[in-house]
C-alpha cells in the first residue's frame, strides 16, 4: 500500500534536496535531455484524465444489496414464492452481475477482510466491510437467502440447473469439503499478501464483464455446462463464502420449511431439490447399533486432534512451494539464480528490480521474512484441512432424529424449488382440497 501524504512529503523533501544539488553541481537532470521550449504564441495543452467513479455508486450498491437481501428473505421465508425468487435471481444477475461487472462481491471480500486483519497498512473500505457482513447477518436470521437470489454467481447457476442428477451422497460429502479447503487457501494467500486467489479463479466474472483470459472463460463455460446436470457446482463444492454462510445458517432463526403444516412423507421435495439438500427421516436404531455408533464417535473425537496435528506438520513442509507463489520470493529466487550464473539472461522482473537500485541482499531479507511467514501460514492451513476432515467425520457419525423430510440447514440455498412440489403447500395455496388421499397412496 502507498501512503499518498507521506509520498508527497517525501517528494517535496527530495525535490528540495534535488534543488540544492542542482545549485551546487549545476548539472542537468538525466531525464530532462531536451528542455521544454518556451513558446511565444503556442499554449501548452493541459493533461486531462477521466474522472474516477463517484462515491455515490457505492451507496447505490449497498442500497441495492440490502433491498435484494430483504426481498429474498421475504420471498423465501414469508411469501414462500419460488416465482418471486426466480425473478429476483434474474434481476440480481442483471444488476450485480452484468451491469456492475460482478464486483461488489462478498465472496471475494473474504480476502480483503483477511488482509485487513493481517496487514495493518491495508485500509478496508467501510462499504466493503458492510457488503461482507450484511449477507452473514441476514443468514443468521433467515438462512442462506443471499445464495438463493442475490448472489450473481449463484443466480447464473440457478438458471442453468435444468437436468439435475442426484450426486451420490458419499461424493457430495467429499466434494463439499473442497469449499472449506478453498476458503482456507483463500485466507492463507490473502493473509500472506500473496494473491487474491478466489477472485483470480472466479469462473463467472469473465462472462459478466464480457472479457477474461481464454482459460477462465473455458473454466466458466465448464461450470455452466456442468451446472445443467449437477446443480450449482460452484456453490456446493467450491464457494468459500457459501461455506461461511452454511456454518452461520446452522444457527439461523428462521429457515426455509417445506411443508407449511405437516409432512405427508411423499418424497416429492427430495426429487425436486437439484442440490441434494433434503434430508430423509431417520429410522429408529437398535441398542446394539447405538453402542457401536457411540464407540465410533469416541474414536473419531480422538482422531480429530491427530488429523489436525498431522495437517499442521504436513502444512509446514509446504513452506517452500507455497512461498514461491509470492511475487517477491519468486523475484528473489530469480535474482539469486542470475547472480550465481545458474540461468542465462534476464527477465522483465529482474531488469525492473535492477532499475530500482535496491541491493539484492535487501530483497533476500524481505523474501526470507515472507518465507518464514509461510511456515506458519502453511501449518495453519494444514491444521484447518485436518480440522475440516475431522469435523466432517464427526458430523457424519452423529445421528439426529428426524421424523419428516427437511431441508438441510447447511446445504439448503433457499431456492424454493421444493415449495410447489409439496402437497401440503398445494393445499395451502388452495390448488387441491384434501391431502389425505395422497397420504394413503404413499
Amino acid at each position: 500500500m502507498r501512503f499518498p501524504t507521506r509520498n508527497i512529503r517525501r517528494f517535496s523533501i527530495s525535490s528540495c534536496l534535488l534543488a540544492v544539488l542542482l545549485l551546487a553541481v549545476s548539472t542537468a537532470m538525466a531525464t530532462e535531455r531536451f528542455p521544454p521550449p518556451d513558446f511565444t504564441d503556442h499554449k501548452v495543452p493541459a493533461t486531462i484524465v477521466p474522472a474516477a467513479p463517484g462515491e455515490w455508486f457505492q451507496y447505490l450498491d449497498l442500497a441495492v444489496l440490502v433491498l435484494a437481501l430483504a426481498a429474498a428473505s421475504y420471498l423465501a421465508i414469508a411469501r414462500r414464492s419460488r416465482r418471486g425468487l426466480f425473478v429476483l435471481a434474474i434481476a440480481s444477475l442483471a444488476w450485480l452481475g452484468f451491469w456492475r461487472g460482478g464486483c461488489i462481491c462478498p465472496v471475494g471480500l473474504i480476502q480483503n477482510v483477511t488482509l485487513a486483519l493481517f496487514e495493518p497498512a491495508y485500509a478496508l473500505p467501510w462499504t466493503a466491510a458492510a457488503i461482507f457482513v450484511l449477507p452473514i447477518l441476514f443468514t443468521l436470521f433467515f438462512g442462506r437467502t443471499f445464495c438463493a437470489a442475490v448472489c450473481p454467481l449463484g443466480a447464473a447457476q440457478e438458471l442453468v440447473a435444468l437436468r439435475p442428477v442426484r450426486v451420490p451422497v458419499w461424493l457430495d460429502h467429499t466434494l463439499g469439503l473442497l469449499a472449506y479447503v478453498y476458503l482456507g487457501a483463500g485466507v492463507t494467500f490473502a493473509a500472506t499478501g500473496t494473491a487474491f486467489v478466489i477472485c483470480r479463479y472466479d469462473p463467472f466474472v469473465g462472462f459478466f464483464r464480457m472479457g477474461a483470459s481464454a482459460n477462465m472463460l473455458v473454466l466458466g463455460a465448464c461450470f455452466l455446462v456442468g451446472g445443467i446436470f449437477v446443480g450449482r457446482p460452484y456453490c456446493r463444492y467450491l464457494c468459500p463464502y457459501g461455506a461461511i454462510l452454511g456454518i452461520v445458517s446452522r444457527w439461523s432463526k428462521w429457515q426455509v420449511k417445506i411443508p407449511p403444516e405437516r409432512c405427508v412423507q411423499c418424497r416429492l421435495c427430495e426429487d425436486a431439490c437439484p442440490y441434494g439438500a433434503i434430508r430423509e427421516p431417520t429410522a429408529a436404531l437398535l441398542p446394539v447399533d447405538r453402542s457401536r455408533g457411540r464407540r465410533r464417535l469416541a474414536a473419531l473425537l480422538l482422531l480429530c486432534p491427530v488429523l489436525i496435528a498431522a495437517g499442521f506438520w504436513l502444512g509446514r513442509q509446504l513452506e517452500a512451494p507455497l512461498a514461491m507463489l509470492h511475487p517477491t520470493v519468486r523475484l528473489a529466487d530469480r535474482i539469486s539464480l542470475e547472480q550465481n550464473g545458474r540461468v542465462e539472461g534476464t527477465v522483465d522482473a529482474s531488469d525492473a528490480f535492477r532499475n530500482t537500485g535496491r541491493s539484492a541482499e535487501d530483497l533476500y531479507r524481505e523474501a526470507s521474512t515472507i518465507s518464514s511467514r509461510f511456515r506458519w501460514a502453511g501449518g495453519w492451513f494444514g491444521a484447518w484441512v485436518g480440522l475440516v476432515i475431522g469435523a466432517k467425520l464427526i458430523h457424519l457419525s452423529i445421528r439426529r432424529r428426524r421424523t419428516d423430510y427437511q431441508p438441510d440447514r447447511v446445504a439448503c440455498v433457499s431456492c424454493g424449488r421444493c415449495f410447489w412440489y409439496c402437497p401440503g403447500e398445494q393445499a395451502r395455496q388452495g390448488w387441491i382440497q384434501n391431502i389425505e388421499p395422497v397420504m394413503k397412496g404413499s
Binding site: 484524465v49 467513479p53 525492473a352
Partner: protein
C-alpha cells in the same frame, strides 16, 4: 402444570438463543466496523500505476480483463521536449521524419504529430486508438524526457478486486490508492 413448565422452558430457551444470535450479529458487525474504522481514511480504493516503477513491458495491453485495456497513455506536456525526432513517435532509424505509417512506433497510430514552430512538434494522443502497449513510453524514457507514461483510466477500469495486470506486472508498479486521489501524474521536476 407440567405443560406450562414445558412451555416456559421453551420460551426461556428461545429467548436465550435469540439473545445469543443478536449478540453474535452485533459482534460480527462491530468487528467489521472496527476493522474498517481502524485507519482514518477508508473510502473506496482504485488501482494506480507508479510511473517511476513502470518499465513499459507491454503487459498492460495484454493482461487487462477488458479487450481494450483500461490502461492508456498519458502525456505530460510540460515535460515534453517537443522534439523533431521524437523517439516515442518514430521507430528506430526512421526512413523520413514524417507521419507515414512505416516511420511510426505506435501500432495503432494513436499519436498525432503536429508542427508548432521550428523546430518543435507537438504530440497529442487519440485516446480511442491507444491500446496501452507502452512502446512509445519505452522510446520516450530511453532517449527523451520521459513525458509519455501509462496510467489506469478510471472511466474504463472495472476496479477488479484482483487486478489481472497487477498480477502480471514485473516491476510491481500497481498499487491500490484511495479513490479521492486516483491519478499519480508526472509533472515537470524542479530543474525547469
Amino acid at each position: 402444570m407440567n405443560d406450562n413448565n414445558e412451555k416456559q422452558k421453551l420460551g426461556r430457551r428461545a429467548f436465550l438463543t435469540d439473545a445469543l444470535r443478536v449478540a453474535g450479529a452485533l459482534g460480527i458487525a462491530g468487528g467489521a466496523a472496527a476493522l474498517a474504522a481502524r485507519k482514518g481514511q477508508s473510502g473506496q480504493l482504485v488501482w494506480q500505476i507508479d510511473p517511476a516503477k513502470c518499465i513499459a513491458c507491454g503487459n498492460c495491453a495484454t493482461h487487462c480483463v477488458l479487450d481494450e485495456s483500461a490502461v492508456k497513455l498519458v502525456h505530460s506536456f510540460t515535460m515534453c521536449g517537443y522534439c523533431d525526432l521524437c523517439t516515442g513517435y518514430f521507430r528506430p532509424s526512421p526512413i523520413a521524419l514524417n507521419s507515414a505509417a512505416e516511420n511510426q512506433l505506435c501500432p495503432t497510430g494513436a499519436i498525432k504529430r503536429t508542427f508548432v514552430e521550428d523546430p518543435y512538434f507537438e504530440y497529442t494522443l487519440d485516446k480511442q486508438l491507444c491500446i496501452g502497449c507502452g512502446k512509445c513510453v519505452k522510446g520516450c524514457n530511453a532517449f527523451g524526457n520521459g513525458s509519455l507514461y501509462l496510467q489506469v483510466q478510471h472511466d474504463r477500469c472495472k476496479h477488479c478486486n484482483e487486478c489481472a495486470i497487477a498480477v502480471a506486472c514485473p516491476s510491481q508498479a500497481y498499487h491500490r490508492v484511495p479513490a479521492d486521489d486516483p491519478y499519480l501524474l508526472k509533472v515537470r521536476g524542479p530543474q525547469g
